[in-house]
């Protein structure tokens, strides 16, 4: 394996710790109204796993590895795409209310 980045030991621990605090801070101040969209949004973000599955599949050397890698990319792509569509549909509902009201008056 020829990898330019080596993220082992304490470097990896720093990354994990800072990322964990980041996630905590993002959710900690969110109004309850956005909890479901944010759960869906974070569900989309871990769809990045598809990238890891692609790495595994491209480096596959046997049929078993190819099959598992294929399933991994399939599931990961589903996670990412499904998570995006569902989150976008939920957030589409959060239009500013003054625009909404103007639209409603037009209808009336």
């Amino acid at each position: 394996m020829d990898l330019a980045t080596t993220l082992t030991g304490f470097v990896a621990l720093y990354i994990f710790m800072l990322a964990a605090f980041t996630g905590y801070e993002i959710i900690g101040r969110v109004p309850a109204i956005l909890h479901t969209p944010l759960m869906s949004g974070s569900n989309f973000v871990h769809g990045i796993v598809v990238v890891g599955a692609m790495y595994a599949l491209l480096n596959a050397t046997s049929t078993v590895e190819q099959v598992i890698g294929f399933v991994g990319v399939l599931l990961g792509a589903g996670n990412a795409a499904g998570g995006y569509v569902v989150t976008e549909r939920m957030l589409e509902m959060f239009k500013p209310s003054d625009k909404k009201r103007a639209g409603d008056q037009k209808k009336a």
Partner: protein, 477 residues
């Protein structure tokens, strides 16, 4: 600094990590939320496109298979994306929670698949720490996969009721310990060179444990469980990111892992349940027989009478629940609310933290019907206002307005924060029949002196209410 494929990959992952965090940050405010998902989506696109550059850096052993592997990767990407896009577009808003569960389970499965490829690479030299994280990620990802599938099937009505047996927790514990034991064997005894059968046994054990863990959990607790599995998948992705030395997976996975854990705690807190309570005990088990006799009787009311009463009230608070969404009545409700506000009535929506099936789910459903979000109030913000309200109307909600949570210590929902609708001068409850709530607890609110029940399908009741108010205005001329 050469513009090598590896450099482009690294730079793209850096950009992706930034866009994910920035996107999530934008998603955390209602004003910027819609752009947040687009920002995060751009990050995903950049990362996936860059990953094709792995083409130039594969292991020598994989070179003969490279063209096949690329075709396989493209096929899997197209099928996975296409199916998820199609299913995500056509699912109803009320079914969103189970779709989130399904997509989340897929992510857990993908993380487990990465670990499986790594653990089956028996000719490679394995170091202990990556191996430990590969096993941990495999275990968590597999549990998230099978557990999320059960959660999806339950919320989608494909599996009904809960499945329990005596000594289940001991049995679950044995399965978990056995799986963990096999994992420890793979890492510390076989050093990653275990027989493929042993690796398979490990994954099967983890998958079975996910099923066993989720089956006994009742539907009311499912949102907490889905959120927990969301955090699980995040962790699994972060761990596999370490195994692959991929910073994008490490950062995105760990951000979601901690954000999901906090979200799970917030949700459990809103239901006054601890997370361990949700997983190891069962809703509705307690109580039942120990509940005291409820005095009074349920008094029915006509939809039209209730509507006219609200038309002449000065302040009305609406407490919607999942029953409203099931009846698809939110559009009709908003039509009715507009009639009231046009007549000068002050109308507010009171949202319990677990109204619907997840925190915020009801907000999404109301927003879909066009209700502006400044009419919608959280429990803490509105609970003091019920005293001043002339009418509180409960539509398709039950446990979230049950005063027993305040008073009856033997009730299984005791201590859960509730909407104080019983403090309004008049309470109307729109209900399909005389059934109990999701938790199986009788609701003494329905027997209170100031409470009347409007029986019927929520949508038909709302139509009747709209007609009553309109006919009033027509007759006025």
């Amino acid at each position: 600094m050469n513009l090598t494929p590896q450099f482009i990959i690294d730079a793209s992952y850096f950009a992706a990590a930034f866009l994910f965090i920035y996107g999530l940050k934008r998603m955390s405010s209602p004003v910027t939320a819609r752009s947040g998902i687009v920002v995060a989506g751009a990050g995903m696109l950049v990362a996936v496109l860059a990953s094709f550059l792995y083409y130039f850096g594969v292991n020598d052993a994989a070179l003969p298979h490279l063209s096949t592997n690329v075709v396989l990767a493209l096929t899997a990407l197209v099928i996975g994306t296409g199916w998820a896009w199609w299913s995500g577009k056509r699912v109803a808003m009320t079914a969103m929670p189970q779709m989130v569960a399904l997509y989340n389970g897929m992510g857990g499965g993908a993380a487990a698949a990465i670990a499986a490829v790594e653990l089956l690479r028996t000719n490679a030299v394995h170091q202990t720490i990556p191996l430990m994280l590969a096993i941990a990620g495999a275990l968590i990802g597999s549990v998230s996969l099978s557990g999320s599938l059960i959660a999806w099937a339950k919320l989608d009505g494909r599996i009904n009721g809960v499945w329990r047996m005596s000594g289940q927790q001991i049995f679950n514990g044995i399965v978990f310990l056995a799986t963990l034991g096999v994992g420890i064997y793979i890492v510390f005894v076989a050093h990653g060179h275990a027989h493929p059968g042993v690796v398979a046994a490990f994954f099967i054990g983890a998958l079975i444990f996910g099923v066993l863990m989720t089956m006994p959990i009742g539907g009311a607790d499912m949102p907490v469980v889905i959120s927990l599995y969301n955090a699980f998948t995040g962790l699994a992705v972060g761990f596999e990111g370490y195994v692959l030395q991929n910073p994008a997976l490490m950062i995105a996975g760990m951000v979601v892992g901690s954000a999901g854990t906090l979200l799970t705690l917030l949700m459990a807190k809103a239901m006054n349940r601890s997370v361990s309570n949700v997983i190891f005990s069962n809703f509705g088990d307690a109580g039942g027989e120990s509940q005291g006799e409820i005095k009074g009787s349920q008094k029915p009311a006509e939809a039209g009478d209730a509507a006219i009463n609200m038309r002449y009230a000065s302040k009305v608070i609406i407490a919607p629940g999942y029953g409203l969404a099931v009846a698809q009545a939110q559009h009709k409700l908003y039509e009715f609310v507009k009639l009231l506000t046009d007549a000068g009535v002050e109308v507010k929506f009171a949202i319990h933290p677990v109204a619907g099936r997840m925190p915020g789910h009801m907000n999404v459903l109301l927003a879909e019907a066009g209700v502006p979000y400044d009419m919608i109030y959280d429990l803490e913000d509105i609970n003091g206002e019920f005293k001043e309200a002339d009418v509180a109307i409960v539509i398709g909600a039950n446990d979230t307005v049950n005063p027993a949570a305040r008073t009856n210590k033997s009730s299984p929902i005791y201590g859960m924060p509730i909407l104080n609708v019983d403090q309004a001068k008049q309470v109307y409850v729109v209900k399909r029949g005389q059934g109990k709530g999701y938790s199986g607890v009788e609701n003494e609110l329905f027997f209170a002196d100031n409470c009347n029940l409007v029986y019927g399908d929520a949508q038909k009741v709302m139509v009747a209410m709209i007609q009553a108010v309109k006919s009033l205005e027509g007759g006025g001329h």
